[in-house]
Amino acid sequence: MKTRFFALPLLALLTAAPAFADASVTIKNFDYSPMDVTIKAGETVTWKNLDGEPHTVVSVDGAFRSKALDENDSFLFKFEKPGTYKYICSIHPQMKATITVQ
């Protein structure tokens, strides 16, 4: 019974995932662009790394974390809760940006 209980919400989440992003951030020349993005709760942001150097997208408070994104790799995250999400590149932590979820 327990297994079924956990499996159902996961399935729902997968089918509800949008095929497109509501906002996109490009990573180029060691910067996130735009550095400040505002979206609504339930919307999705995608990041794409255009640098030859890998970067990551890591929430300062632990809400989300990408793998190392090599050139042209993307990361997608759906923001369910309103708030201000600061994030950095864990490989180059001088790179900082913010997602604001209304």
Binding site: G52, A68, M95
Partner: protein
């Protein structure tokens, strides 16, 4: 083999990118690997430093990082007097992937040394906890990453400054590791040589690119009472040196690709140079110390 032919043989190995550290009168010297073969007075060989092999990197700056790591290992293995062990100061891999670690571990098995000490670079722990890194290299530190050991009367300290970044981008040890370091050094006598190594510079070289460590001043304070301290790191893929009192700070070149000098260009990414110039960018810059108690620093390139 005479001196001349040995030197030529080492040169033929190409991009030897390692630094041989020797102990002479209790003071450390970093000796150019190509010159070590011909050197008459280089003290007792202790260890070699390899850094930033970035296995998995495949961009224009060096499409063959496996080849250049292999050639670096060849240079180490060709040393006429064998170092007891090797240290790798991090960024073993480029993207923390299991297959990259597997390849690197396989390659480094060829190192003819009795021990290999490895500290993680930020490229090795992009997943956060560094699962793949610690699976392979965590044993020496009980999966903590930082630890100390002794060899030839020298106190060695391996530190991790890539898993607790501070705002602004500097590396950091964090409170627990700082407390451990202070405690670890407490019973080491002033006269005992100390070697400290980590991936990112333990001294602040260029803060806008995060080339430094948040606790650098406290670390220097802990080390200044010792008569001979050598602080080593990788991360910046080029040689920068500083001597402060009895502390010699020395960064290592990469076995994979060069990076720009501090502040040149948009960021510290791979520096593409004409193919014929790569050898000179990966060549060795060394510190040599012999009988005198003062370090002598020398920059030497292989090509």
């Amino acid at each position: 083999m005479n001196d001349h032919s040995r030197r030529d043989a080492l040169k033929c190995l190409g991009l030897g990118t390692g630094t041989l550290f020797t102990l002479s009168s209790g003071i450390f010297g970093a000796v150019d690997l190509a010159q070590a073969a011909t050197h008459k007075d280089i003290g007792t060989p202790l260890f070699v430093q390899i850094s930033d092999s970035h296995i998995g990197f495949n961009k224009d700056a060096n499409p063959d990082v496996i080849g250049t790591l292999n050639r670096s290992i060849d240079v180490v293995n060709a040393l006429p007097r064998k170092p007891a062990f090797a240290i790798h100061t991090g960024d073993v891999t480029h993207l923390s992937r299991a297959e990259e670690f597997d390849t690197a571990a396989q390659l480094m098995k060829r190192l003819q040394v009795s021990e290999l000490h490895v500290v993680p670079g930020e490229h090795d722990v992009t997943d956060g906890p560094g699962v793949e890194f610690f699976n392979r290299f965590g044993k020496a530190s009980n999966n903590r990453g930082y630890y100390s050991f002794a060899a030839n009367g020298v106190h060695f300290v391996a530190l991790v400054n890539v898993m607790d970044f501070k705002a602004g981008g500097l590396g950091a040890l964090g409170d627990d590791q700082m407390a451990w370091l202070k405690d670890n050094l407490t019973n080491v006598p002033n006269s005992q040589p100390v070697v400290v190594f980590a991936h990112m510079p333990l001294w602040n070289i260029y803060e806008p690119w995060g080339w430094g460590t948040a606790e650098s001043a406290q670390i220097a304070q802990l080390l200044k009472r010792f008569g001979s301290v050598t602080v080593l790191n990788g991360h910046i893929h080029q040689i920068v040196q500083k001597v402060e009192g009895n502390i010699t700070f020395h960064t290592a070149r990469s076995t994979a690709y060069p990076q720009p000098q501090a502040g040149v260009g948009s960021g510290p990414g791979p520096l593409k140079v004409p193919a014929g110039e790569l050898g000179a960018m990966l060549g060795i810059t060394d510190v040599t110390i012999h009988r005198a108690r003062k370090p002598v620093l020398a920059d030497i390139t292989l090509t």
